[in-house]
């Protein structure tokens, strides 16, 4: 028996859950699509009003789709883990041969799948509604996607660690944390717009480098390797911190007996 088999078992468990409810499947794509439609209209309006926006058609649509990659990747980790807590299943999972890092691997994989379904659907509908294809960015899109997804995973693991440590009362963090990050990520405006002191905070986030890099591609047609590398290095750091925090919280849960009694 190997690690891959156990990770697959957990992925299967989450696929069963997704399959069990079509409203859940629809919901995966619903919010990204609604966001895309809203920002699509705004984009159409601003293209006629602003020279800056007019430089790159579909800038806001690209921004909102990429932002949703980060958002959905984070939710894909945290909400799926909450399912184990709601169902009081952690006690059985952790007396099976499943290692904590195998559970985390399964959470990351299912987060990737959920994000692809949700944001992928919205991206395809953007072609239909606004004749804008984010896929025109080519390989740069893959670089942005991976970086934002990894950052979403890192935040998701922090949320999971907090919830494991403080119980389901902390589940609201899944929504709160991501909205705290949004204003300093430069999703819809350049980082230079922020006050100087806040810019240094922004540059400490991988997302800022991704969104600045996205604007470079859309406006100047140039992929910034420097921005990409900064994002990658920061993500390595944040993912290690997220994983470390999860392991610390897991050990604390074992010390306090929370794995047996955690639940609604």
């Amino acid at each position: 028996m190997n690690m891959a088999a156990r990770v697959y078992a957990m992925v299967l468990r989450y696929l069963y859950l997704m399959r069990s409810s079509w409203p859940r499947l629809v919901e995966l794509a619903y919010w990204p699509t609604m966001q895309m439609i809203l920002w699509g209209f705004l984009n159409q309006f601003l293209v006629e009003q602003s020279d800056w926006v007019a430089q790159a058609a579909g800038m806001f649509i690209a921004a909102v789709l990429l932002w949703d990659v980060l958002f959905r990747a984070q939710l894909g980790v945290s909400l799926v883990f909450f399912e184990e807590m709601y169902s009081r299943n952690l006690g059985y999972l952790f007396v099976s041969p499943l290692r904590p890092y195998e559970l985390v691997s399964a959470l990351l994989l299912i987060s990737c799948l959920r994000t692809l379904i949700g944001v992928g659907t919205a991206a395809l509908l953007a072609i239909v509604f606004y004749h804008y294809s984010i896929f025109d960015m080519g390989l740069a899109l893959l670089a942005f996607f991976v970086n934002l997804m990894v950052m979403g995973w890192a935040i998701g693991l922090v949320v999971v660690a907090m919830t494991l440590r403080f119980g389901l009362g902390a589940e609201g963090l899944a929504w709160a944390v991501i909205f705290a990050v949004a204003p300093v990520s430069g999703v819809y405006y350049p980082i230079a717009t922020l006050p100087e002191w806040l810019q240094s905070v922004a540059w400490a986030l991988p997302a800022s480098h991704v969104f600045e890099g996205m604007r470079e591609v859309l406006i100047h047609g140039v992929f910034s390797s420097s921005m990409f590398m900064h994002a990658v290095l920061l993500n390595v750091l944040y993912l290690a911190m997220g994983g470390g925090l999860f392991m610390v919280a897991f050990r604390a849960a074992r010390q306090r007996g929370l794995l047996l009694h955690v639940g609604e």
């Binding site: 468990r13 169902s87 041969p97």
Partner: protein, 257 residues
């Protein structure tokens, strides 16, 4: 470790669990021979569930050593977890998954060979065939208990740890489950440690009984030894003697104070 302990499936030495000012388990030591069925008895809050959780590694002990099938459960639990089964009313399975999906996931986690056949056999043994396609959350508490038992037995465990295994079952089903456990133990030579409030169940199944009170191991032996020592006819009377002895002691201390 003595020779008798190395032939034991479960060896516990000086096991304690403290939460701030509360001592849930206090320097408990015992061993369960391979192939034995051992009952863990005690009133509410005696430390039965805490002890089981520490044996499994769900809870880290404040002090003491635990060895199961020769492995240190604090340091090397993953070497042995695939050979253990566990069921508890305090833990549940995913509600939205069907019974079959739940058993499939756990069969994969435990690396069960001939998975489908094993699930089919257990579904027949625990009368679950008609429920396999139903969401686990839609089952009655008795049906859920049977699913949890089937889950615990998926890997044909060498050691089975059970917390109140028949608590929510009707008398007929509970009796059939006990018969199944006896047969399973005889067929596989498995070691069983069960926490229970059902004294008849313990008398019927167990060769060894551990009595916990306020986190301490206060008595142990075979059911016959306990009956003889306490001069009683049933384990329930022995249980009440021990439980009420605590009250008598507390009253005496209060009067003295």
């Amino acid at each position: 470790m003595s020779g008798s302990q190395t032939s034991a499936a479960i060896v516990v030495q000086g096991l304690s669990k403290r939460y701030a000012s509360v001592t849930a388990v206090d320097s408990v030591s015992f061993s369960v021979p391979r192939g034995a069925v051992c009952g863990l008895l005690g009133g509410n809050g005696a430390g039965k569930t805490t002890t089981l959780a520490m044996l499994l590694g769900l809870l880290l002990p404040s002090a003491g050593n635990i060895s199961i099938l020769g492995e240190d459960m604090v340091r090397h639990r993953y070497r042995v977890l695939a050979r253990l089964g566990f069921t508890s009313p305090y833990v549940d399975l995913p509600q939205r998954l069907t019974v079959l999906q739940n058993l499939t996931v756990y069969a994969r986690l435990y690396g069960v060979r001939e998975r489908r056949q094993r699930i089919k056999t257990l579904a027949q043994d625990f009368d679950l065939v008609d429920f396999l396609r139903r969401p686990y959350g839609a089952l009655s508490s008795g049906q859920k208990t049977r699913v949890s038992l089937a889950k615990a037995l998926l890997p044909e465990p060498e050691v089975l740890l059970m917390d109140e295994p028949t608590a929510s079952l009707d008398p007929d089903t509970a009796d059939r489950v006990r018969t199944y456990l006896v047969d399973y133990q005889r067929r596989t030579g498995a070691t069983v440690l069960l926490a229970s409030h059902n004294m008849l169940e313990v008398e019927r199944l167990c060769q060894q009984v551990l009595m916990l009170k306020q986190g301490r191991l206060v008595d142990e032996g075979s059911p016959q030894e306990l009956l003889r020592r306490h001069g009683r006819e049933t384990l329930e009377q022995v249980f009440l003697d021990i439980a009420r002895q605590a009250d008598t002691d507390a009253d005496a201390e209060a009067v003295t104070a």
